[in-house]
Symmetry: C2
Subunit: 410 residues, 2 copies
Amino acid sequence: MVNIAVMGYGTVGSGVVEVIRANGDIINQRVGDEINIKYVLDLRDFPGDPIQEKIVHDVDIIINDPEIRIVVEVMGGIEPAYTFVKRCLEAGKSVATSNKALVAKHGAELLSIARDRNLNFLFEASVGGGIPIIRALNSSLTADRIEEITGILNGTTNYMMSKMFYEGADYDEVLKEAQDNGYAERNPEADVEGYDACRKIAILSSLISGQQVDFEDIYTEGITKITREDMMYAKEMGMTIKLLASSKRHGSHLHAIVAPALLNKEHPLYSVDDVFNAVFVHGNMLGDAMFYGSGAGKLPTASAVVADVVDEAKHLHRNIMTMWKNEKLELLPIEDTSKRFFVRMEGGADARKAEVEALFGPVEIVRVSGLDGEFGFITEVMTEGEYGKKAAQISGILHMIRFEEQGAEA
Amino acid sequence: MVNIAVMGYGTVGSGVVEVIRANGDIINQRVGDEINIKYVLDLRDFPGDPIQEKIVHDVDIIINDPEIRIVVEVMGGIEPAYTFVKRCLEAGKSVATSNKALVAKHGAELLSIARDRNLNFLFEASVGGGIPIIRALNSSLTADRIEEITGILNGTTNYMMSKMFYEGADYDEVLKEAQDNGYAERNPEADVEGYDACRKIAILSSLISGQQVDFEDIYTEGITKITREDMMYAKEMGMTIKLLASSKRHGSHLHAIVAPALLNKEHPLYSVDDVFNAVFVHGNMLGDAMFYGSGAGKLPTASAVVADVVDEAKHLHRNIMTMWKNEKLELLPIEDTSKRFFVRMEGGADARKAEVEALFGPVEIVRVSGLDGEFGFITEVMTEGEYGKKAAQISGILHMIRFEEQGAEA
């Protein structure tokens, strides 16, 4: 029997209990042993819930029990999760977590503690919920140099962007609807400002580079400025707008960014709608691949956590190598990255085209019926730095959105 | 140093050599040791190719060399691959293969030999080329009961179906074009009759059931009867037609089938075009997930083979468990499986609707402009057996294509 403890009996924690209860037979068969939940740590009590008899309020009970081999951390947040996880690893227990904030900030250190003790620290559920992208990077795409990872990593904002695209709705409208449906929180900042996606792409960037990528270094722009009018232009051009989190290799550097982007129909992420997440990967041998699934939700997330428990139970005294050193990776400054830019501009296209082209070079003009007194254009490829300098020299820019072309150099 | 041998220096074999040459530094870092190709087995010589010095013509040199720890089998076909692989395993060497015919027929036995000797027999590249679906099933989706796997598993036929859809071309036309482009072989039977997809879904069915699924038991229908007119109906209904290979769970049974199917835009496989492959998976906790990528091609396939070599080099004395017993699984007979059917029928819809509905119950009539003297309809859900009986009672059926509804019971 492999005894485990679950720290946190919230949405994901209760999901973990449910997955082990529902699929215990196949899970035990795969482990080759019986997984038993011995403790559930929570500040609260759950009278009437069968879990109540396993509830403990003191983490030391878990840490000091040598029978506990694996600890599931699904409390969220940095503290006390960090202290608890570190103490569990130091006490010889493997840890599985869904906590992206913890992994983005302390992943390298916790992995190193696990490695030194022949334990495992796994975090499949921290990125993409039920999508097995982390294990794919660690165990499947091992013959490749990963040149790019671009993902739709936040379900809330993807739901909102999909609504705006299909229903022509306004940002405020879809945010309210998402909140009413429980897809967005009352304080939606972490989602709509891109902070959640930023921590996730920081984790993926660390994994593909093998070094520490600090999320604070990643340029992050949310969806709060995306309007109904932007989406009308996107439709006119046969495109859509998604919040993308992306990490691309330039020699030994990475460039990472979280921002809304225009995608055309040829891009594999174009048709990823609603609360679904997807991760596009380009390997130098593999070519293009994509992983798609439920990025959040109680059971998909819990399924990923329990898959980590299964792996840890099969490798109780053996570290599954993850290359992620503490050494910090410097990202390529955003000013030096190149792409095409879509710009919405006040005025008439006929009147202003010469002025625009004098500055930006040849552009494709886009007009949308119903939107008078403005027009849009897509620039040639240039660096963010160049774009910024040019944009400062012309008046009347209403909005700029980056164009994510598949296969284009960033 | 981990010495390996490559059996077969054809397309995939030379790809394996190229991947190890190009990405040797990261591959060795991931293994924690140096991978060295010591022998390449081929009947031919390759004068002038740097590989020539490693070429051997006699498999016994590989089998009798205790330095060889891992053997890559990329010859294809059942014999002599089966005999060679079995002898390698019995001589204490792990084996990685891309050979779907070998795995579909002898997978259970070869896995059992590997398990008994603490070796590994891995075959990621045998299904979906560069798409890491097999490792996902074995190591990632381990907390789930997999209820369905439906895939576009053959790039040649998907290329042809995409051409027919986008260009309104005829079957014979696109087959010739695919042959001219090198996407289809001069003798295209294995692809267009569905035999290739059938072996692949047999492998996936065995993995999700843990028992032997014989490919001979799987109902298999190719794309040779799909016409330009069928595709016109599909378009009229907002759908497309794809060759799907599918395996669905009914209690302890599986139902597996390879056949062209109508898909609507909501299905994740709808937008998988050209030579790309994709695998849709539904788990009882995970919900829906999809894996997409290059299903064939020299480097994507070689990348998957080398990822298996990496895994085997990291587990030289430890079997990575794969649940696939020799015990045969009886599939649910196709007659007992339920779905909706699209039927094309001679005559006028107005004249024949009553006759059709008297037999099939209420149907949705579809007319396509330009196709006079015929109409189409989609039935309610019924078993294949019921459909067959009804279809025998009415004259003028031009073609029947199954409708693959996501989330529908099969």
